[in-house]
């Protein structure tokens, strides 16, 4: 059993009044792949480094299993970390790099070799064991960094943006490899990234952070379907959700003359200024007569399978940018006017001021 629990964990840097990580409460199940995601400076890396023991916890507790590790030195926490820039030991061979922690833990030579060999096999590094890091490619170095973590058989993996230094193609393939590897080893993993696609594709659950505060924790799909607030709604999903200022009306949100249908929970809770969120794929193209919202097309991005239409809503007062996913074969051109509408269950309603979700 190696769950990870943050209990009101806080990190306040000396000389600062606002904590970098503020009262973080997060429970990570045994064997779970938890992704911390958020824009830079949101405290996700700091949270991870607090778990790893590289950053002091100024308040609250962190538990691994039921051990309180808040003030233990990193080596006693039974964790392994993969750094963004790999942090390999440049003067040591790949094998020595991987065996270093075992050597420090006074593991016998034979077992050391065996564990290194195992990890090397797992990561396809067997031919490179005698090389120095500088003779390796970026992807290989990344795998050595992974190997260094694996040989320790830790209770928890800490990964700090391990893919961000790889090129786009390698990043995608390594993404799957890491997820598969984690599943196979069944080791609880905390993974930090700023890339929401990475978060969505890799995580069993995803924790979204902003300004040191945890916004929402849920499975990728739930985050996508039911974002808890405006920030999560805008952050998760690519292209981002359309967020349009509106006014609360009777059973519908008003964007100018266009009335967006909303669900019952939202319509009972919404007052005054609200923000309506609709995913690009939730729009339907309709006609003027049916009362759609007018959108003037500015750009059409054809992706083959489908296309994204970028346009401006022609509503007086608040001309906002609208993204609509359409069938790629629908011939639309710049300058054309289209009318879009959607269904109540696809409309997310948020309070503009507090950012809280109002719809179901």
């Amino acid at each position: 059993m190696a769950s990870v629990t943050y209990q009101n964990a806080e990190r306040l840097y000396p000389g600062s009044t606002k904590p970098a990580v503020d009262n973080l409460n997060l429970e990570i199940q045994d064997g779970e792949f938890m992704v911390l995601v958020g824009p830079s400076g949101c405290g996700k890396s700091t949270s991870l480094r607090m778990l790893a023991g590289l950053e002091e916890v100024t308040n609250g507790k962190i538990l691994i299993g039921d051990r309180d590790i808040t003030h233990l030195p990193p080596k006693d926490r039974d964790i392994a970390m993969v750094f963004q820039n790999y942090a390999l030991y440049p003067h040591m061979t790949v094998a020595d790099n991987m065996a270093f922690s075992l050597k420090m833990a006074k593991v016998g030579k034979e077992e050391r070799m065996q564990r290194v060999a195992e990890a090397a096999k797992l990561l396809d590094l067997e031919d490179y064991l005698e090389r120095k890091p500088k003779a390796l490619s970026g992807g290989q170095r990344q795998r050595v960094a992974m190997g260094r973590a694996i040989v320790r058989h830790p209770q928890v993996f800490c990964m700090d943006e391990p893919l961000s230094n790889l090129d786009a193609k390698l990043r995608v393939s390594t993404r799957t490899q890491i997820a598969a590897l984690q599943q196979r080893l069944g080791i609880t993993t905390v993974y930090v990234t700023h890339d929401q696609v990475e978060a969505m594709t890799m995580g069993d659950r995803v924790a979204v952070m902003k300004d040191g505060i945890l916004q929402q924790v849920d499975t990728p799909l739930n985050l996508y379907d039911r974002p808890a607030n405006l920030f999560v709604a805008g952050f998760i999903g690519s292209p981002a959700m359309n967020l349009v200022q509106a006014k609360a009306g009777e059973g519908a949100a008003r964007i100018g003359e266009y009335e967006v249908p909303v669900d019952r929970t939202a319509s009972s809770k919404m007052r005054g200024a609200i923000t309506v969120g609709v995913r690009p794929e939730a729009w339907r193209i309709t006609t003027k007569e049916e009362g759609g919202m007018p959108v003037k097309v500015t750009v059409v991005e054809e992706l083959g399978a489908d296309a994204y239409v970028y346009g401006t809503s022609g509503v007086e007062g608040t001309p906002s940018d609208i993204v609509v996913r359409i069938d790629a074969r629908k011939n639309l051109h710049k300058g054309e006017m289209i009318y879009v509408t959607t269904d109540p269950n696809h409309v997310h309603v948020f309070d503009t001021e507090s950012g809280e979700r109002l719809s179901e």
Binding site: A52, G53, L54, P73, P74, K75, I79, A80, M81, F83, Q84, N85, Y86, A87, L88, Y89, P90, H91, F100, S101, M104, A105, K132, P133, K134, A135, L136, G138, R141, R148, N165
Partner: protein, 287 residues
């Protein structure tokens, strides 16, 4: 006015000529010394060393200065003394300074910045100003180690350390920080991190400072003369200085002796030079 190019830039004849000229100019004193060391004393006094060079075949050349300096005075003994002084006086400050630099770079403790500024400020103190109090401290009224090698080792270590700490710390602060953090997670103690990671990655700066310190200690006259004296523990430089009589007699021996004493620093230099390698940390982090 340009020849071939290098690195995309035109090589200018002007800079090549200037460089050559400056190099030659800087070599002139050494050349004079070399020429003089092969001339008999009487000739040295009669005319300048350049006349010998211009009348190369009409000049009497001799190697007797060299043989005299080696036999007349206990040069071999002083050589040993010099080495006994210089080797520990090079290794000790570098080792301590490397420890200190590690602490200043990778550890956090109270008063770290103040302490560092203080140490750097020590570089400004002229060593001559410190001699009198030190003579008392190390003399019979104090520790009573004056005239022992230990005294000189301590002094060179002390005087060499501020600059050493400063230089080595500056180098260490360029080492990738995550590598140290990684070692921390891997369970390495500070001591292990220092010896297994930091020292191997700091070899260039350690070698550079070793050369600097060795040359300084080897060529030092003041400390060696004051704290070791000119007796049986005298170093090469002290010994050479004593060759020169008050009326300038023995000057020809001095020239030969100077060349002999240059041999060891040269060997040290060429021996350590191969450690000046760039890119020691290549591959550690994604650059």
């Amino acid at each position: 006015m340009s020849a071939n190019t290098e690195g995309g830039r035109k090589r200018s004849w002007f800079s090549i000529l200037t460089m050559t000229f400056l190099c030659l100019l800087w070599t002139v004193p050494t050349l004079g010394l070399l020429v003089s060391s092969f001339r008999p004393r009487i000739d040295i006094e009669r005319n300048g060393w350049w006349t010998a060079l211009f009348n190369f075949f009409d000049t009497t050349w001799t190697t007797s200065n060299y043989s005299n300096v080696l036999t007349q005075k206990d040069m071999a003994g002083s050589f040993v003394n010099s080495i006994v002084v210089a080797v520990p006086a090079t290794i000790l400050p570098i080792m301590f300074a490397a420890f200190a630099a590690y602490a200043f770079t990778f550890m956090s403790f109270r008063g770290k910045d103040v302490l560092f500024v203080l140490i750097v400020a020590l570089m400004v103190v002229p060593i001559q100003a410190a001699f009198v109090p030190l003579l008392t401290l190390l003399g019979p009224d104090g520790l009573d180690i004056n005239g022992e090698y230990l005294a000189v080792w301590i002094l060179h270590t002390g005087f060499g350390m501020p600059l050493a700490i400063y230089t080595i710390r500056n180098y260490m602060s360029t080492l990738p920080r995550t590598v140290i953090e990684s070692a921390k997670i891997d369970g390495a103690t500070h001591f292990q991190t220092f010896w297994r990671l930091i020292v191997p990655m700091s070899v260039p700066v350690l070698a550079a400072f070793a050369i600097l310190q060795f040359l300084w200690v080897w060529n030092d006259l003041l400390i060696a003369l004051l704290f070791l004296g000119s007796g049986d523990k005298s170093t090469v430089i002290v010994n050479l200085a004593s060759l020169l009589g008050t009326q300038g007699q023995g000057a020809e021996l001095l020239t030969a002796g100077a060349f002999i004493s240059m041999l060891v620093p040269l060997l040290v230099f060429f021996g350590l030079q191969r450690y000046f390698v760039r890119g020691l940390t290549a591959g550690a982090v994604k650059g």
